[in-house]
Symmetry: C2
Subunit: 234 residues, 2 copies
DNA sequence: GGTCGAATTCGACCAGGGTCGAGACTGGTG
DNA sequence: CACCAGTCTCGACCCTGGTCGAATTCGACC
């Protein structure tokens, strides 16, 4: 399918994205108008809507590009043999640094990822799936090393740590944690305490098995076969 | 300061809010135009901007009104002597029900509360402070009853449970948890496991004391004197 | 090479959030 | 009562995200 037509289409899409990267990075999302974007991309405004349905969608595509960079960065940052706590914190903070490199940019990003509108849900799930997969790897390795209860549910652990990430970044935007250092400390404190456990005595009955299974079904592919046969994906 | 002027101003604000409640409830946020709002409130469009800087701000004021209702509901829902787990789940689910009564409405709400823009941060902190205060009460009572480690940090516990709330609601919007039941189950599972603890062995060093204190400073007023001298605020 | 339908492009347009500035109202002062 | 300064109000306007339909381009098939 390398007709002239398809080629051109890809080219146009690329130039929109390039314009987006340039302008969003330079002036931010809200300050960049579609018209401007079109001009820089060298096309008409309405043409853009042949490629993206909304401005937000352009934004998500833009994020996808940026993410590639972050993930490379993450791999350098995280030592797969370090204690679970350290790995989680390192990974989360790498993500945090990316997201908050530009405050407004990150807010948009978090909003779209954490509370996507229906039409974007797929896209946004896809975006953080990559991140979640990393966390899952960390958890599974940790469990194999015996850092987590043998019978702890890895998916639940994933949710647990992801929850903490959401919390600290939300806290950062809400002004509860003013500095990066506070964010990291809070994150570490939460993870640590959750490893110890909060409670005393009987924590009550086990969650309904059937529903938990329902919840888990879509994540089946996250349990990547065997973690110990690590294939570095460079 | 009950001059004619001030009176009228209050009246105008009130009629804007009334129009907002009517229209937002009837047609949703995005489907309501400022112009319409103005017409229903019986004033000019530009006048609204003398009272609220942006449409979102009107929205938050609207939410504040609605919240009153929710909080009354919550008190009926939550039994202060039930196990911690049950109380947390009941409270969170009450909040969840409120927020998701209308999907679009709730998304807006979550976005503004969890990732507020600078200009709204105060307002949005104020809005969820009331909710957080309830959670804190529950935690403190539980700790007095011995359901939490004596030396567990209540504020950290608050963050912990709030994180779970954020996670499940985000998961709901992301399409990970399709039904209310799944949300509740997930929440319960997370809370439960966090009471037991995830880990085995030494969880690493304690978080930096100084930074934790910094983080906590703004919450001083949440540690409401003594919880056992409960004054019902009807 | 010619022709027709589908895909692509874009100028013109619409709707809605937000601004501006001129005028109307209030209430304090001499 | 006359006047002025500050406050409110609102019609007209601007800007920008998004739509529409006509014109153009492409390429499959004769």
């Amino acid at each position: 399918m390398t007709t002239l037509r398809a080629q051109k289409k890809r080219q146009t899409r690329k130039s929109i994205l390039e314009a987006a990267i340039k302008l969003f990075t330079e002036k931010g999302f809200e300050q960049t108008s579609i018209e401007e974007l079109a001009k820089v991309a060298g096309i008409g405004k309405a043409t853009i809507y042949g490629y993206f349905a909304t401005k937000q969608e352009i934004y998500l595509a833009f994020c996808e590009e940026e993410m590639d960079y972050v993930f490379r960065h993450m791999d350098e940052e995280v030592d797969p043999q370090a204690p679970l706590l350290e790995q989680i914190v390192a990974l989360s903070m790498a993500q945090f640094d990316f997201v908050t490199a530009n405050r407004e940019f990150g807010r948009l990003f978090c909003r779209e990822i954490a509370f996507p509108r229906e039409s974007m849900a797929d896209k946004s799930r896809e975006l953080d799936a990559r991140y979640l997969a990393r966390v899952m790897e960390i958890i599974q390795r940790a469990q194999q090393r015996g850092e987590l209860h043998e019978d702890a549910d890895p998916l639940l652990a994933l949710a647990n740590f992801h929850a903490f990430y959401l919390l600290v970044i939300s806290g950062w935007y809400g002004g509860y944690f003013a500095t990066r250092e506070m964010v990291a400390t809070m994150l570490r404190a939460l993870c640590r305490q959750s490893l110890i456990g909060w409670g005393e005595g009987d924590p009550g009955e086990v969650p309904d098995r059937e529903i938990m299974d329902q919840i888990k079904a879509p994540f089946a592919n996250l349990h990547l076969a065997e973690v110990d046969s690590q294939e570095d994906q460079e």
